[in-house]
């Protein structure tokens, strides 16, 4: 390793996933050194987990924080800088994976990332500081005339030419699905560029977390993305637990792991059914629609809610299992196993399905790397990244789930990835249920440590879910940052659509199946 790389490494504060650190131990770099540290870390093979603004301790300044992951060393690293004035030099041209983070900083704190190639708002809300990066009037977010701040506004990247046409879809879509706006630049059926404009689901989650922990905190976490209730609630609880030095029992961690993998099973099997539906292969579409319900009912057997509401609670879990319930769950997993094999294996042996899956919506490995793609979408493009393996916390420190990868990067890759993960999750759930450790289901969570910093990452079914919290001198949240996998992966979908037929959009979209509310917060 060259001295320069060593230098950049020492400039960062390293720590582990889910362990709080003294806020003062995070080095304050000058803005140029901060940017260089990120560029160097990414060049070394690390990746950006979060880049966000926060109130600086110094007056008239805004702090920027970065959390980087060193997946080979199973370590996270943090650094911060303070920006005085209204702008900073954009890092996006040198490090594309931060492009949305910088747009978010611009929107939330009114700082302009100078040189950002496509600086538009992310969620279309008023700035938190009263200073607007686009010079708009404060307090008039969505009024007529405030076109730029209204969702879907702000202008789109356009292709010019006689044969070029533009297709606009949404925010209200044809199915029972969340709202978002898609703008395609097409030449005939061929998509040259897709721009995705979101923000319609913005409910103000991060802002509402400030000053917490509040009574509603766990409910915000459970509804950041309803289909990812377990992963987000687990990250939220890990934040509280690490900041209060709460020791969870092995039993509660096993139950969290089981819940997380059930969430993955339900969504993966549902997605495979929906992918079958999108290519008109109805047998698997029909079977998987029902089988997904069977898994949701298993989660409801744990906690009464098909989406895991009430299962993950600070200090442990809300519900325990006795041997009778374990036996029932094991039987239900066996039935699921049999049904899922019969339904899903039809896909891989049906030429009309494979013809539509293979070679469609390819996201090349390098693009996935550059864009910072996470989860099954990254693994389907050959990137071996999985929080359960690389940054293990909770039960995953003891029970390893090896990351599977596929090299093709196409719809088939993302579909087959899910099938591989279904196998791993079933194995994990069975192992955990059969060897359930003893212990209480919940231990009390105390007051949060003041002036601390923590990042809690979990591998949700879509990919990495990251919650970062900073506490003030009274142990209250002075910043709470949430990064859903969708925040990273929508750019991957847009990229994968280039050069595709527009009629393949639903198929490509479903192969990523990203969250709108998880992005919009």
């Amino acid at each position: 390793m060259s001295p320069a790389l060593n230098e950049s490494r020492t400039a960062l504060r390293t720590f582990t996933n889910g362990w709080s650190i003294d806020h003062a131990s995070i080095p304050v770099l000058d803005p140029e050194a901060f940017a260089q540290a990120i560029v160097d870390a990414v060049a070394e093979g690390r990746r950006v987990v979060a880049l966000f603004g926060a109130e600086a301790r110094q007056q008239d300044a805004t702090a920027l924080y970065v959390v980087l992951a060193d997946d080979d060393e199973n370590l996270l690293a943090a650094a911060r800088t303070e920006i005085t004035g209204n702008s900073f030099a954009s890092l996006t041209p040198r490090c594309p994976q931060v492009h949305l983070f910088e747009r978010e900083i611009a929107e939330q704190y009114g700082l302009v990332p100078e040189g950002h190639p496509w600086l538009k708002p992310v969620r279309h809300h008023a700035s938190w500081t009263g200073r607007d990066a686009w010079g708009r009037e404060a307090g008039e977010p969505n009024l007529p005339g405030g076109e730029l701040i209204a969702p879907g506004g702000g202008g789109f990247y356009r292709l010019e030419g006689e044969e070029v046409h533009e297709v606009a879809v949404g925010p209200v879509h044809a199915g029972i699905i969340e709202p978002g706006h898609f703008r395609f630049q097409c030449q005939g059926e061929l998509v040259h560029h897709l721009e995705i404009a979101l923000g319609y689901q913005h409910r103000g989650v991060e802002r509402a977390m400030l000053g917490g922990p509040h009574a509603k905190g766990i409910h915000y976490a459970e509804t950041v993305a309803g289909d990812t209730t377990i992963a987000h609630a687990t990250s939220y609880c890990q934040v509280l637990e690490s900041l209060s030095r709460c020791q969870k029992t092995a039993r509660s961690q096993a139950l969290r792991g089981i819940s997380l993998e059930l969430e993955r099973l339900a969504n993966h099997v549902g997605d495979l059914g929906a992918l079958a539906g999108d290519v008109g292969f109805l047998p698997t579409a029909s079977f998987c629609g029902r089988i997904r319900g069977d898994v949701l009912n298993m989660t409801a057997r744990l906690c009464g809610s098909r989406f895991g509401r009430g299962m993950i609670r600070p200090g442990g879990v809300g519900f325990d299992v006795d041997t009778a319930r374990i036996d029932t769950l094991l039987r239900e997993i066996d039935a699921f196993d049999k049904d899922a094999h019969a339904a899903i294996n039809l896909l891989w042996s049906t030429p009309s399905v494979m013809a539509r899956f293979e070679g469609t919506g390819t996201l090349p490995r390098q693009a996935a790397l550059d864009l910072g793609i996470v989860g099954p979408a990254a693994r389907a493009s050959g990137l071996e990244r999985d929080v359960r393996q690389d940054q293990p916390c909770g039960v995953f420190r003891f029970a390893h789930i090896p990351a599977s990868t596929v090299e093709s990067g196409d719809v088939f890759g993302r579909a087959y990835m899910r099938w591989l993960e279904i196998h791993q999750s079933m194995r994990f759930i069975r192992e955990q249920l059969r060897a359930m450790p003893a212990g209480a289901r919940q231990t009390p969570v105390g007051a949060l440590a003041p002036d601390s910093f923590v990042a809690a990452l979990n591998e949700g079914w879509r990919g990495e879910v990251c919650h970062v919290a900073i506490t003030d001198e009274a142990g209250r949240f002075s910043r709470y940052k949430i990064v859903d996998a969708s925040f990273r992966n929508w750019s991957g979908l847009a990229y994968a659509l280039r050069g595709q037929q527009i009629s393949d959009f639903p198929l490509c979209n479903k192969s990523f199946n990203l969250s709108y509310c998880g992005f919009d917060l």
């Binding site: 913005h202 409910r203 949701l296």
Partner: protein, 269 residues
């Protein structure tokens, strides 16, 4: 082809028999309709207060009210719970030292009027009745709905969607979700109605031909859910549109949603 037929045989016929047969079993830990026994409430009943320890603050017990994240529980005019605001987290029941408030497995929760969702002593949810005769004549055997998620977290949406699977087969009741508001008889709304979805929801509603109905599914669409009071949202669909059916839950169980829809169409009572 043979493989497909074999898989089809293995999967079998899975559509529930309800409402002709009994409804499918709900999970034993389901938090359904709450029941209030004011006689046990230490805050409103002197006898219950005397019978419990000092932990209940001698008649000033507010444990349930303090435990509720959305302000659904009230002690004014006796202990009551507004199911429109309720997330069914049951933290109130868990906090109650005397068991005055318990959640049952009862899945039927849908009501026609907002006020009918208030549960109190001797007062259960006033379950929804059918549409008025003229609308029932129009929609009773064919109801086309346009779904709009306006800040929903995708849990309500998912359990509305599940009604379309072979297990529930919503189509057998003539109920169908359609792609265009022009083809719809009404809207089914989820989410607290974010400021950023307000215009889209208004336009979608305007595009539905008269007469039309509105169904609010989930705590968010009824009263804002966890997002109640947020400047970024409107505390539910009722702030913008007249609502004909409220289906509480976070999210409601599919059986609760189906029950609500069938009640509206006079298929169950």
């Amino acid at each position: 082809m043979l493989k497909i037929l074999k898989a089809r045989l293995q999967q079998g016929h899975r559509t529930i028999r309800y409402p002709d047969g009994p409804p499918p079993a709900v999970p034993d830990r389901l938090r359904g309709a709450p029941v209030i026994d004011a006689g046990k409430c230490a805050a409103t009943s002197a006898a219950a207060s005397a019978a419990t320890s000092a932990a209940t603050l001698e008649g000033n017990c507010r444990a349930c009210v303090d435990a509720c994240p959305t302000g659904a529980v009230s002690l004014e005019n006796g202990l009551s719970l507004d199911l429109g605001r309720c997330l069914f987290c049951a933290q109130c029941a868990g906090a109650c030292p005397t068991g005055a408030l318990v959640f049952t497995q009862e899945h039927r929760l849908a009501a026609r009027r907002r006020g009918d969702l208030l549960v109190g002593q001797g007062r259960a949810v006033r379950l929804a009745g059918a549409l008025e005769p003229r609308l029932l004549g129009l929609f009773g055997r064919s109801l086309k709905l346009r779904q709009v998620s306006a800040g929903g977290c995708n849990a309500c949406e998912a359990d509305v969607n599940v009604l379309g699977t072979v297990g529930w087969d919503l189509g057998r009741f003539g109920i169908q979700f359609v792609a265009a508001p022009r083809h719809a008889d009404g809207l089914l709304i989820t989410g607290p109605v974010t400021q950023n979805m307000r215009l889209a929801l208004e336009k979608t509603y305007a595009a539905v031909p008269e007469p039309k109905i509105v169904i609010a599914v989930g705590a968010c669409a009824i009263a804002g859910g966890p997002y109640i009071g947020h400047a970024e949202a409107l505390d539910g669909a009722g702030a913008l549109l007249p609502v004909d059916l409220f289906i509480p839950g976070c999210p409601p169980h599919p059986l609760t949603i189906l029950d609500g829809l069938l009640r509206l169409l006079g298929r169950v009572s």
